[in-house]
């Protein structure tokens, strides 16, 4: 048994550069940032290096730790600490595993790529807390080891290092965090009809049928990324805006305009969604505007990106605000049409696909069992958070 696991572990770690594991498509790689062994290694180091933060203690891995299936197992993430205490954000850290397949990054999709994603946390006021990208690049330029590495990987002099090199290396590393080959994959795509047990098979039926999960957490004939890359309002976080959606949205847009001006003045140019990144992670009520904070369309009120379900058993707590502790709670949430208590009010902005499912207790359990069969072998040993 141990031997088998080890084999899976090796497969899991060696893919990414060349081939996708069972159940996943080829990893999309942007033309201007091809994967190389050296770049991936550099990205791995930068990802784990806590120096790029105000207190020198926060790295990407702080909130996206390998031993926690590349999450932090917290409801919402924590940033740097100073004399005022530890900064706390507004959103749950999504796993980096298979993030390479998303067509936009962050819960509200405010950036289009892994590269652009890596740019913001080091300088976000509640995450890394650095003052600017110049500060970060300055650190790289002074570090003998990184100077050599950037020269080797990108063929540039240390004076030519920019934030773009930093984010390209990190994104390349993240494109290797690809994990499929779960029990579900072996059943669905590997021809092993016994890979799922009877309960898990019943759960798959619920997933495809009465549960309607597959409408957003998509599965295809050849692979499953379990996301439609779209944004939906599930009623999560509704209470923070109840009765004051309009007021909060107006206040947000007003503050956004002012903050944009301020950032533009200090940076000399406007970086797309930099101001939004600052505001939504600093203020819970702004966070709950969801995709609207980016598109300013009422249609996107409280809508958040569909996350993948792979390794979901290992990435609790759940939803964009980490408000649901267990998979049972998540399924109950959907079962009651976007709430835990059937008597609670619905948000008027609730997605039209969310409605009571009338699943039986057994179906709920079966569905949870199915979701637990989505864990990749290399994360099987991650301890589930308490």
């Amino acid at each position: 048994m141990k031997k088998i696991k080890l084999t899976y572990l090796l497969i899991g770690l060696s893919v990414g550069l060349y081939a996708a594991p069972l159940g996943l498509p080829e990893v999309p790689v942007p033309a201007d940032n091809p994967q190389t062994e050296a770049k991936i290694k550099l990205g791995d180091m930068l990802y784990h290096d806590p120096r790029f933060s105000r207190d020198g203690k926060v790295s990407c891995a702080t909130c996206h730790a390998r031993e926690k299936a590349f999450t932090d197992h917290l409801p919402v993430s924590k940033g740097f600490t100073d004399e005022k205490g530890t900064r706390v954000g507004t959103r749950n850290a999504p796993t980096v595993i298979n993030a390479a397949y998303y067509t936009s990054q962050f819960w509200d999709g405010r950036v289009p790529s892994l590269e652009e994603q890596a740019k913001f946390p080091p300088i976000n006021p509640v995450e890394g807390g650095l003052h600017s990208w110049d500060e970060l690049v300055g650190m790289l330029k002074k570090d003998d080891f990184y100077k050599k590495e950037f020269e080797k990987v990108f063929g540039i002099k240390s004076s030519e290092i920019t934030i773009d090199h930093f984010i390209k290396a990190i994104a390349s590393f993240e494109r290797t965090l690809i994990s499929g080959n779960s029990k579900f994959d072996r059943f669905m795509y590997g021809g092993d009809k016994n890979a799922l047990n009877e309960q898990e098979k019943r759960g798959l039926e619920v997933f495809l049928g009465q549960g309607r999960c597959v409408s957003c957490h998509t599965i295809s004939q050849t692979h499953a990324i379990f996301t439609d890359n779209q944004f939906h309002n599930l009623g999560v976080g509704f209470k923070a805006l109840q009765g004051k959606s309009e007021k909060v949205a107006s206040e947000y847009l007003h503050k956004l305009a002012m903050h944009k001006k301020k950032l533009k003045k200090s940076a000399g140019k406007e970086i797309a969604n930099h101001a939004a990144d600052d505001l939504v992670l600093a203020d819970k009520k702004f966070s709950e505007l969801g995709r609207l904070a980016i598109t300013h369309e009422v249609d996107d009120m409280g809508a958040f990106k569909t996350p993948t379900l792979r390794n979901i058993a290992k990435t609790a707590p759940y939803m964009h605000d980490g408000s649901l502790k267990t998979l049972i709670e998540v399924v109950e949430w959907y079962n009651f049409g976007g709430k835990l208590n059937p008597d609670d009010p619905d948000t008027p902005f609730l997605d039209g696909g969310i409605r009571p499912l009338n699943l039986s207790g057994q179906q709920v359990l079966d569905l949870v069992a199915f979701m637990k069969a989505l864990t990749s072998p290399e994360f099987e040993n991650v301890k589930e958070p308490k």
Partner: protein
């Protein structure tokens, strides 16, 4: 500041962002001396909610959610619409419980509300409960230089009204869109006389907006996309230079121009209807459907529904259709061609007028 902006903020154009900028400028042109034009204003139409009571306080969730969403979105508009017209069919079977339930949901609107009657509000008790709640089913008012008329266009002749064994049988017959036992709608002589009188005092240069539940033009008799005395009403409106008719009932985007009268329809918050066969330019060989297919995306209950923000400028209306998860559509009055046109999807060639109803 552009009026079409949602959630007004400096320099962020949202709903208007799919419009070419030049058209926005025309639509919201201020007076030459830079002062705001009084003739420009914005209102909203929410329509065809079809709230249906299941039992007691239980109502069909889907229709409730559609109306609630439109109300919530409408409240997000900035600047606020000057008023919101509800276009009729608040209930499904005309029950007092349905109309009261609808009134409660509409009470969350933060703009003044005007009500119009639909056939679903009428044919159970002949509008008694509706009129007790909302008042006269036809009336007029003036707003920022525009004369606005709300008609009750869903009347039928007495003989049909009295031929049923009970009011619910009558209501249910009228509630079936394609029920062959229905009867064609009309405005009727009494209201036409009232309309003539109402318009006597109005200058022919004053822009008119006329609301009717059924189309004040003849589209398809089988589904009552139709008002039997439409031509007679049009005759009354003809002498006015700028007339805009906005109608409900059809649950789909339609627009047309007859003489000086521009016609626009509005969406339903409940469900979309298919286009009637009189709209087809080519014969359709799609097999006759015996299976229900109520919208393109049956998973997403709001697909094919919507509501509308309407800009009034220089006496003409631009319809902004707010369509959940779909590209918003704008049917704007084109001053150059002198007719309403879909800003994005207008057929380059003029669609030939239909030759039969």
């Amino acid at each position: 500041m552009k009026r079409r902006e949602f959630l007004k903020t400096s320099g962020i154009v949202t709903a208007g962002s799919i419009l070419p900028m030049s058209l926005i400028e025309v639509a919201f042109a201020d007076n030459a001396d830079g002062t705001k034009s009084d003739e420009n204003f914005t209102f909203a139409v929410i329509s065809d909610a079809h709230l249906q009571q299941i039992k007691g306080t239980k109502f069909v969730r889907n229709w409730d959610m559609g109306l609630k969403r439109a109300v919530a979105e409408c409240n997000m508009m900035n600047p606020k619409p000057d008023f919101v017209l509800f276009g009729g069919d608040l209930g499904q079977l005309g029950k007092a419980a349905e109309i009261d339930h609808g009134a409660e949901i509409l009470s969350a609107l933060r703009s003044p509300v005007k009500m119009m009657l639909g056939e679903h509000d009428y044919y159970l008790d002949l509008g008694e409960h509706w009129m007790n709640r909302f008042g006269d089913p036809y009336y007029s008012f003036d707003h920022k230089g525009v004369h606005i008329v709300v008609l009750n266009s869903i009347l039928v002749d007495e003989k049909w009204i009295n031929k049923w064994k009970d009011p619910m049988e009558r209501m249910q017959t009228m509630a079936g869109l394609d029920d062959p036992n229905g009867s064609p709608f009309m405005v009727g002589l009494k209201q036409r006389e009232w309309l003539k009188k109402d318009l006597e005092k109005v200058s022919k240069d004053t822009p008119l907006i006329v609301f009717s539940h059924s189309p004040l033009q003849k589209i398809y008799k089988g589904w009552n996309f139709w008002t039997d005395d439409a031509e007679l009403v049009q005759d009354i409106l003809k002498p006015f230079k700028k007339v805009n008719v906005i109608y409900a009932h059809v649950h789909q985007v339609q627009y047309n121009k007859i003489g000086n009268i521009a016609f626009n329809s509005v969406m339903s918050t409940a469900w979309p209807w298919p286009y009637p066969k009189t709209y087809a330019k080519e014969p359709s060989y799609v097999p006759k459907l015996t299976v229900e297919m109520n919208r393109a995306d049956p998973f997403f209950e709001r697909d094919g529904t919507g509501w509308q923000m309407i800009n009034v400028h220089t006496g003409r209306v631009d319809m902004n259709f707010i369509l959940p998860h779909n590209q918003n559509r704008i049917v704007a009055y084109n001053e150059k061609t002198g007719r309403p046109e879909d800003v994005e999807f207008q057929n380059k060639e003029r669609i030939p007028p239909q030759i039969h109803y």
